[in-house]
């Protein structure tokens, strides 16, 4: 083998090692820093000034805002994917697709800013209340993950063997039947991947939701109540935190990492299981 080839191989291997070691090191650092505060996290009240570090309200905030946004974005995103892959004329798709890609490139803080200036006042006007709410967070996040879901599901739907599709039409299936009974089931694992990607992004998103969620550290009782996510909490309080408070923030970071890994892994298993059948 050429020396340069060997060098290149060694360099790539080193990069791979650094990348995978990075995850482990982050997990390790966060866990070590947060370890002493771990027993304090099991509580229903987060109030650092009173020495209470229960993460239940933050966990609820993260879970609710993620579920809410996916409930809105998954049907819309898969529908858009189907539209681009199967329904729209190439010309129309050529207009919609770059628009979606552009949306995916918008930084999250810009989404947050738009949410703050458009969605929050709109909610306040229509439903009353503060406007800063779970609902605002769900809407902003839904817009953010929509392009990802649409793009990945379009690819998945396009990857379905054209012979299957043509066969179905030849048997007299309507376009609706082809989409519902053939394309969507055949692309199931790809569509699940789209949802998993969106789930990961929604769970980890910080800035945009921080700006519109209202951040009260309490379990919201209605979609119009403010809520606080695990990520938002760390961003809000890290700058000042010291001692036990800082440890608790690290511990909640470790929890977030664990949660994200677990959810992604579970979704992947589910996808694999279905694809095998």
């Amino acid at each position: 083998m050429d020396v340069r080839d060997r060098l290149a191989r060694a360099a790539l291997a080193a990069l791979a090692a650094v990348a995978s070691a990075g995850v482990l090191l982050i997990a390790l650092a966060v866990t070590v820093e947060g370890w002493p505060a771990l027993p304090h996290l099991f509580g229903a009240v987060w109030s650092p000034e009173d020495g209470k570090f229960g993460v239940l309200p933050l966990l609820a905030g993260s879970a609710l805002v993620t579920l809410g946004s996916l409930t809105l974005a998954v049907p819309a995103g898969i529908g858009l994917g189907l539209f681009l892959a199967d329904v729209a004329s190439p010309r129309l798709a050529g207009v919609v697709r770059p628009a979606l890609q552009g949306m995916a490139a918008v930084p999250s803080v810009v989404f947050g800013f738009l949410g703050l200036n458009l969605i929050v006042p709109w909610i306040s006007r229509v439903f009353g209340g503060l406007g800063f709410s779970l609902l605002a967070g769900c809407l902003v996040l839904a817009f953010m993950v929509l392009p990802t879901i649409a793009a990945v599901s379009e690819d998945a739907l396009r990857a379905v063997d054209p012979a299957l599709r043509e066969g179905a039409y030849a048997l007299g299936a309507t376009p609706g039947q082809v989409a519902w009974r053939l394309l969507l089931p055949a692309a199931k694992s790809g569509l699940t991947a789209a949802v998993v990607l969106a789930l990961g992004r929604a769970l980890g998103e910080t800035m945009a939701v921080l700006m519109v969620l209202g951040n009260a550290a309490a379990v919201p009782r209605s979609p119009l109540d403010p809520a606080r996510t695990l990520t938002g909490n760390i961003a809000l309080e890290m700058a000042y935190a010291a001692g036990r408070h800082r440890e608790a923030l690290f511990a909640s970071g470790a929890l977030l990492l664990l949660l994200n890994l677990a959810v992604t892994q579970a979704a992947r298993l589910a996808a694999g299981g279905r694809a095998a059948r």
Partner: protein
Amino acid sequence: MRAYTRQTVLILSLLAALLAGCGRSSVGLRIAGSTSLQPLAEMLAEGYQAAGGARVSAQGVGSTAGLQALRTGVADLATISRRLTPEEVREGFRAHVIAWDVLAIAVHPSNPVEGLTLAELRRLFSGEIRDWAELGSPAGRVHLISREAGSGSREAFRELVGPIHPLTAVQNSNGVIRLAIRNDPAAVGYLSLGVARAGGVKLVRVDGRLPGEPGYPLVRPLSLVTLGPPSGEARAFLMYALSPAGQRLVADEGLLPVR
């Protein structure tokens, strides 16, 4: 071969520049302390240098951490946005007030509330008063907006007024608090006067005084702290902060000058 030499020279000179950047020889005065005071400290540092003073480095690490830096000699001057405790005074720390930060209480312009007593404000933020009707405004649930735990404004509010209800909505900057109040007829919140004056919200009298008026109760001192009497470069910087030029910067930052 030539190309290699040139590259080597380039890399070496970049490394040299990097190492030179690590040196701390050129800083004449090190300031550390309150994050609320950080913007003002940076403005003063710039003005001080422009007026021919030494180079100043200012770091926002929090009031207490700033005092620790001064104690261990890591900083020459600390900034605090609270008062010194009796223990700290006994230790030899001396606070020199250079500005007053005013916490304004703001409501939506449509809210007819003109003034609150300190006691009413306390009952409002502790969650005891839940409806605006109790304060003579049209009925409606009160929406409290507060800063995050650890923020200097929040600490000052807790010290000057009282506890804040845990279910209060939290925003992490003065600007967003102003925006939130501007958008919500039922909101009430506290924020720095400089930001509150940017408009869109109505400022409420507390104990009969408007923010900025003498006797307004929600003010906190912003101070430079020395260990023992000020001397040398620290003294020169303190004199600059209290000079007309320094006090103009104080007013520019939306704070109340001391002179």
